[in-house]
Amino acid sequence: MTAKQTDKENNEKTKRKELKALGFIIVVLFPILSVFAIGGYGLIIWLMQVFGGASPH
């Protein structure tokens, strides 16, 4: 009885952890990383234009 209960509690814990992790990644981490990646891409093009003259479209 007690062993089953701890099992259930553990399951609940893991479920919450997984949901939290998914939420964090999807709502916070990946959007931020994407914005940084796009920003970095833009920065590279800009610097290439400033120092290299011509640039890819």
Binding site: T14, K15, K17, E18, I26, V27, I38, Y41, G42, P56
Partner: protein, 392 residues
């Protein structure tokens, strides 16, 4: 730190309770929301309303635009801020957005929030915009304007000639068409920042008896301390430093003047209209300032010339030891500014007395501050057929 390790532990093994379906569905939906949101934000920052939501953009560039053909015209097409200032292709647009981060900086620290601050920075800001148009051959203009769609027969003969030449080279539009949407910066009063960056402000200590050259047009004074101006010393003029006192140096100026009127202008040599210095009326009248020597008559004009020498004071700055950097800068400026609209003539194509008229006739078409103008004119005279013998 603990939560990070926990997070990693959760992420590092297969999900136990969340199904693959729910994970991929949420990821897919969030991807759409993110991308949609990103592009909406990109779009929103690419509108006129967004640009002029800053006071400095609304009060100056936006008001100026309303006086131009890009605001209203007989075909009813209007160019808004992003049409010209933000490239349309995605990659370049993102690059421009990054570049615009300095605008956010300026907004935050209020670098152009008043009319005075804006005007003092106008040249710098315009130069930056021209730089981008230069880099991409005026791509922003060419999103609407196209050399191939131009109706040549409706143009004047001169316009046709110039435009066809530009079309051949697919020339950048702002090479000639500057100041068409906003007021031009005042180029006439700025003191040649690019020239000084190139040649420097000169040494901090001067050797008596050594020869120096002026890097700008400089005021001349009667004494080492006084404020009374005795005239101006032209750019790229050779002077001999006689002595230093405080922040001034005494220089010896040699040349020739015409024996007409007060004879206030000192020229480079007999019969050559190349400016060395212009003295004030007081300076000419004051006994002993100008020392006159032998006189000669110019057969071409019938004018009498007199060799003169004068010793006056000037600020101990913008006097450089070599003349060549000045000529190098002038040559580059002459080549780039003049070849924009036509093939520039060879320096030795005209003589020293013909160049000023030629040059002054063209100067309205280019943006050149007064010091640079004077320097380029002198460069042309100094390298004209008068001094450089060349077969034509």
């Amino acid at each position: 730190m603990k939560w990070l390790i926990n997070l990693w532990q959760t992420l590092n093994k297969p999900a136990k309770y969340l199904t693959l379906g729910s994970i991929s569905l949420t990821a897919f939906v969030m991807g759409i929301i993110f991308w949609g949101g990103f592009n909406t934000a990109l779009q929103a920052t690419n509108t006129e309303e967004f640009c002029i939501s800053c006071h400095s953009m609304e009060s100056k560039p936006y008001q100026e635009l309303q006086k131009t053909v890009h605001w209203s015209n007989h075909s009813g097409v209007r160019a808004t801020c992003p049409d010209c200032h933000v490239p349309h292709s995605w990659g370049r647009k993102i690059a421009r957005k990054m570049e615009a981060s300095s605008d956010v900086w300026g907004w935050f620290f209020q670098t152009v929030n008043t009319s005075e601050k804006f005007e003092s920075k106008r040249l710098e800001m315009a130069t930056r915009e021209w730089g981008r148009f230069d880099r991409d051959d005026s791509l922003a203009c060419k999103n609407c304007h196209n050399y191939d769609s131009m109706k040549w027969e409706d143009m004047s003969k001169l316009a046709q000639k110039q435009m066809k030449r530009a079309a051949e080279k697919d020339q950048s539009c702002v090479d000639c068409h500057k100041g068409i949407a906003h007021t031009l910066p005042d180029m006439g009063t700025a003191r040649a920042p690019e020239l000084i960056a190139e040649v420097g402000t000169g040494p901090s200590k001067f050797n008596d008896g050594q020869t120096y050259f002026t890097a700008l047009t400089k005021p001349l004074f009667f004494s080492a301390k006084g404020d009374v101006e005795a005239g101006t010393l032209n750019v790229a003029t050779k002077v001999n430093v006689l002595e230093s006192k405080g922040s001034r140096v005494k220089v010896a100026i040699k040349g020739w003047r015409k024996k007409i009127g007060a004879g206030r202008v000192i020229y480079f040599d007999f019969g050559i209209n190349m400016l060395t210095a212009q003295l004030s009326k007081e300076a000419v009248k004051t006994e002993g300032v100008i020392k006159g020597f032998e006189e000669k008559e110019d057969d071409m004009t019938g004018l009498k010339w007199q060799r003169v020498e004068t010793e006056l004071w000037t600020d101990a700055e913008y006097l450089i030891t070599e003349q060549q950097p000045l000529w190098d800068y002038a040559r580059d400026t002459f080549r780039t500014s003049c070849s924009v609209c036509h093939t520039q003539p060879d320096e030795a194509h005209f003589d020293a007395n013909t160049w000023p008229g030629m040059f002054q006739g063209m100067i309205a078409f280019v943006n050149m501050d007064q010091d640079t103008q004077a320097l380029v004119q002198k460069y042309l005279q100094q390298h004209s057929s008068t001094f450089v013998k060349k077969e034509h």
